[in-house]
Symmetry: C2
Subunit: 198 residues, 2 copies
């Protein structure tokens, strides 16, 4: 039913496996495009303008905020990061499905600025499983791990603000579900609710 592309927002707690799911999704599916963020920080070695990020000076970034040019933005330490509305809308117009990987707070912003997006919450099989995954990375200290797990419990409260919940118990099953969601949404009659018989 859809000729335009869809904005597919993949969100969920840190450590839940969003990145791995998306990587596998792109491996299996054509017609998907990563959303490229704008940032005010300097490029690191090997980073390419328009591929990894769009790099702008801070002054320009603040101007873009004022002009409502972001679907969402955040300041992380002293650097700004944001999702440019124009880039996303252009890709959608070309019929591409744009995938945006983003944390809960960013996703809530996008729900306001782009409610016609498809909002998918990736869930851990259990808090215990998530804990073991975060520990498995071996990059975090004990206090950080406990803080993160507390945060996850808070974040699960935002589930009702999403369209779909996908439990990441097995990578292949989670990817299959997201592919099904994309295929189903392309058959949707209307982005909004169906009309009601009166």
């Amino acid at each position: 039913m859809e000729e335009k592309g869809l904005l597919i927002v993949i969100s969920g707690p840190s450590g839940v496996g969003k990145g791995t799911i998306i990587k596998e999704l792109f491996r299996q599916e054509d017609n998907l495009t990563y959303s490229v963020s704008v940032t005010s920080r300097s490029p690191r070695a090997g980073e390419v303008e328009g591929i990894n990020y769009f790099f702008v000076v801070q002054e320009k970034f603040l101007e873009m905020i004022d002009n409502n040019e972001f679907l969402e933005w955040a300041k992380v330490y002293s650097n700004y990061y944001g999702t440019p509305r124009k880039f996303v809308e252009q890709a959608l117009e070309e019929g591409k499905n744009v995938v945006l990987e983003i944390d809960i707070q960013g996703s809530l912003q996008v729900q306001k600025s782009f409610p016609e997006g498809i909002f998918i919450f990736i869930l851990p099989p259990s808090l215990a499983e998530l804990e073991s995954r975060i520990r498995g990375r071996g990059t975090d200290e004990e206090a950080q791990i406990l803080e993160r797990l507390g945060l996850v419990q808070d974040e699960l409260k935002y589930l009702p603000y999403y369209d779909y919940g996908v439990i990441n118990d097995q990578l292949s099953a989670a990817v299959e579900k997201i592919k099904a969601i994309i295929q189903a949404e392309r058959c949707r009659i209307s982005r909004s609710q169906r009309r009601v018989i009166s």
Copy 2:
């Protein structure tokens, strides 16, 4: 996300291939149940109570209408046919997905009586293609064929009252889409629209 089953309403114009799609869907998928209708007509040879229909006398059928026991019902010539709410709800409670094949008018009734259903409209690739299919059956007279094609054009107006539209261009592709819709709907956070950030 769903533990209960889903009511999947497969609707669309006569001759569009609903029956063939559903037959193939049942061949490929477990955990699907046909909705069994109640009828006031007499059993034909080989028809089994509870499999083909639930057979009741007309008096009983009219009583069931009065008691709001149908998701939809219709009188065809002198016989009554209806979808029993109790049967559907019991199967859904057991976690089964109930498939209901029904015409447009019946589907509109179900949308009122059971709005949490998933309403799928099967579309012909084109009116020309539909005409050739109806002619291919060889069972209809010219006047009937033209009348039916006019009716289809009218029926397409009801598309906005559905959740999904699936074009039956290739059987396997149409079945894949319906399977994706069922899988996606099982990941839905809520049967109603997502909550909105205020």
